[in-house]
Amino acid sequence: MGPDKNLLERWHDAEILLLGGSAGSFKLLFHIVKSLSPAINKTVIIVIHRKKNFFSEIEKLFAENSRMLLREVVDKDTLNKNTIYIAPANYHTLIEKDGTFGLDVSDAVWYSKPSIDVTFESAAEVYKERCIAILLSGANQDGAEGLLKLKQSGATTIAQHPEDAEMDEMPRAAINIGAAQYILHTDEIFNLLQTE
């Protein structure tokens, strides 16, 4: 995938869509999940920060409003097309070379478990240019380093425009280290994700 390709071509070619968000991204992710159509023909992986003992019913709420299959990652699940996977609370979610998920309970990264960095870095190693990743609103720096690794591996990387992010620290951190190839407004993100 060359740098001459435009964003739409990159989106079309990508097999894995990675979404990372923290504080202020929940509502946005809910609407994204709601809007995604199986016709995009991708595996979707969502990493969202949350507290360990709050059974926040995220999966239930998301699943009820999704046109795609949606499940919380279980150890050794295979990454399937047209399925939305949510990283479980209190674990890091990794991707193995054989196309399965691995989980890890090691220390939090940026006080976060799941950490967006961990999943993004792992996706960068295995799926490289086959990934497209979007880093959304959040109040810490998790995800920036992972987005950079994705960019370095040839993946397409996007940060939500800090002006649009409810909490701008996370996308700003990514932009500051040059991890974001595209900085998109929320409506532009939706437009892209609607493209089949």
Partner: protein
């Protein structure tokens, strides 16, 4: 901040696994590679070692391997991690355990002992202290020392207390230890019901017969072939109708073992040995 300069390849991981097996007798070949790679990268960053240095030190520094082992295995654990699991265990399994004259419980991959003591507390709350015994095992001798000591930082205890609240168990978690300055020491009464010893799930065999085996958040580090070998070990180590508990995101995938274990609680991954 992660150091982006450390990059190791899959070939190097394999090389390191072979070296560790040859020089130290520990076989990590069945461990999941993404996690293993992350751990090895971390060791290289912490110890400021290049890949060559790491290999050299592993072979030539006799004390280094213990450090390596501690870093390569994940020793993050909590008391009453996943409170809903303990609730399910208390409601669906403990009543059956109480019918035995004596229950032997194996906490496999116990790390620093928090889960083994959680089980001991659960049994105490059920009035089964005198009728139960908990064996905690791990491959790592250093973490077992900590488990035997049973002293945990007060800061962690606060989060354990929060977990405990959600278990629905009576009493308070603080009934189980004595606070000394910034640490909490597990009561001797609970310690007397536990034994911590070295056991390597990869290479060691059956050592007793158990009514309950709890092996939570250990399978996530093993590839499916190794998981299956260890399921066989657990199957052989359980009494007829004995219980097996896996982590809340772990599951039995092998068809052969699905037939040998009945699901008691799907969400919490509690199984019961059936068949001969």
């Amino acid at each position: 901040m992660t150091d982006t300069s450390v990059i190791i390849s899959s070939v190097q991981i394999t090389e390191l696994i072979d070296l560790v097996k040859k020089f130290h007798g520990f076989d990590f070949s069945g461990y999941t590679k993404a996690s293993l790679k992350r751990r090895i990268t971390r060791i290289m960053q912490l110890k400021k070692l290049s890949f060559y240095d790491l290999k050299h030190t592993l072979v030539n520094d006799p004390h280094f391997f213990q450090d390596f082992l501690e870093e390569i295995t994940v020793n993050v654990t909590e008391m009453f991690r996943d409170p809903s699991f303990y609730k399910a265990l208390n409601n669906q399994v403990v009543p059956y355990l109480s019918t035995y004259q004596h229950s032997k419980i194996w906490c496999a991959g116990c790390s620093t002992g928090e889960e083994a003591y959680s089980l001991a507390i659960l049994m105490r709350e059920a009035g089964l202290s005198q009728k139960s015994f908990i064996y905690g095992t791990d491959i790592n001798t250093e973490v077992l020392k900590e488990a035997r000591r049973g002293i945990y930082s007060l800061r962690n205890i606060k989060s354990y207390a929060e977990n405990y609240q959600f278990t629905g168990l009576k009493g308070s978690i603080s009934d189980n230890f004595t606070i000394l300055y910034d640490a909490a020491s597990i009561h001797n009464e609970l310690k007397q019901n536990t034994l911590f010893s070295v056991h390597n799930l990869v290479s060691d065999g059956v050592f007793n017969e158990f009514q309950l085996i709890s092996c939570r958040n250990v399978f996530i580090y093993f590839e499916t072939d190794l998981q299956e070998r260890i399921l066989d070990l657990f199957y052989k180590s359980l009494c007829h109708l004995g219980y097996l508990c896996l982590g809340s995101k772990e599951t039995i995938r092998s068809d052969a073992f699905k037939k040998k274990f009945k699901v008691i609680n799907q969400k919490e991954n509690i199984y019961q040995k059936i068949g001969a």
